[in-house]
Symmetry: C2
Subunit: 300 residues, 2 copies
Amino acid sequence: MKNNIAVIGLGSMGYGIATSCLRSGHLVWGVDTNIDQVKAFCSQGGQATTLNSVIDKIDVVVVVVLNSVQTEEVLFGQEGLVENLKPGTVVISCATVAPTFAIDMERRCKEFEIFYLDAPISGGALKAKNGQLSIMASGVKEAFQHARPTLDSISETVFELGDEAGTGSAMKSVNQLLAGVHIAVMAEALTFGISQGISPDKFVEVISKCAGTSWMLENRAPHIVNGDYKPHSSINIWPKDLGIVLDVALESKFNAPIATAALEQFRTAVDMGLGFEDDAAVAKVYAKSANLSLPKKNDV
Amino acid sequence: MKNNIAVIGLGSMGYGIATSCLRSGHLVWGVDTNIDQVKAFCSQGGQATTLNSVIDKIDVVVVVVLNSVQTEEVLFGQEGLVENLKPGTVVISCATVAPTFAIDMERRCKEFEIFYLDAPISGGALKAKNGQLSIMASGVKEAFQHARPTLDSISETVFELGDEAGTGSAMKSVNQLLAGVHIAVMAEALTFGISQGISPDKFVEVISKCAGTSWMLENRAPHIVNGDYKPHSSINIWPKDLGIVLDVALESKFNAPIATAALEQFRTAVDMGLGFEDDAAVAKVYAKSANLSLPKKNDV
């Protein structure tokens, strides 16, 4: 089944989602404040007219923005979409947000007879581009039904986590707690290894085959070996996402000391001016503190 | 080539190593203060006479004890082996110890013309039993040569990390830093998930397929799901191993805040009387702190 889909936010994730929808034969509008991204998307077959002029044709809205503030602005702000969408449209909300925020958005969408799918994504820009994301989704049965053709176009795996918003975002928070800590502790262990005479490339060769490995270690440690901090996913993501995790934890009186320690390392990285570098650059916090040298680009 | 091998320490790792050596056709003596373990090993084909009576026949000594104190006692204590071994024998030392300790042992063995292989092991009891350990080894060329038939019998992978003792132990410290943190943060994330309405089995199902996964998560989280804390590897390992990591780090003026936070959780677990439970029981520290229920045995 082909849908008319609006993708709001054409960053690296949103752009991949939008083009994956195009490949499946849907009619897709791309919306972004960055005009160059919109033009690029149109050159790939995306629709060029403004969303307002076609609002009553839209079946599915995929919101792929940075955070809860932007999500709320898109849905209910000055140029708020939800009040203008035709009843029965589904909003697929992909940003990492607190579960309570997702629950609130679902409630407010329902007032306009709009279905809301709490649908945080995992997998990174390459998987977004290839339509192979993992999606941690929760929402009413109709939200899943209406979203299905779009989900099929953009994902490899959809975890169906229940019939109300919030659970998807809770699972994403759990995943981000682990992912953020695993990146920071990879940097901690790799630089500790340097201090003991173990080179970063030997670290990757050995540890990736031992019990100390993680998905993030295998994905990010090579960036340090190659001295390449071009951002696949930036340092700036982590004060935000671990901040959400710890806000949610605090509300539940849940003590998360390891996530807290990792957050501190990412905040220090931001303070060092590394916010827009790849998140593997958190290794520079450790290297600076212990006066160690990391590989330069093309050292290897 | 068949060797005459003495395995000192028949705990879960040493017993697996000793029986793997037997399977390869070596003549193997097993030594342990626990007589039942020695009897069991003899019933599998292990040698029954005392080590002293055959000391001049031994080609290889594998030391699989708990820590550096026990390793030193075995090699140089009251009934010290090294002075009685025939020159050219190799000692394969498997305990997790500080790199400086390994360097010291190598030096002292050399005084008796005994080769020393700094050879910490990774992989757990099952891989020990199956002769599929990973070994992080360093030492002189002759130490590797003399140890080779034994290494081939007990390991799937031998990482050759250099020609002097210390580097093997350094790599093991790096691995243990990661492994310990990954167990503790798995427990942190799993219990955080419970606080947000995510069941432990759903946690394992989803996260093991997402970017938040780790080797330890996939290995240990099922113990929590099953409420089964029979020790595969006990809580008590971690104050010891993370303690070594942090001692080494301190000597190198290396700051490891995430390992420090994880160590604190394991120490709290010991204080709660959980030292001899499986290390996944660190989840009980979080559950108690946040007043959450973990699955009971046979709940699932």
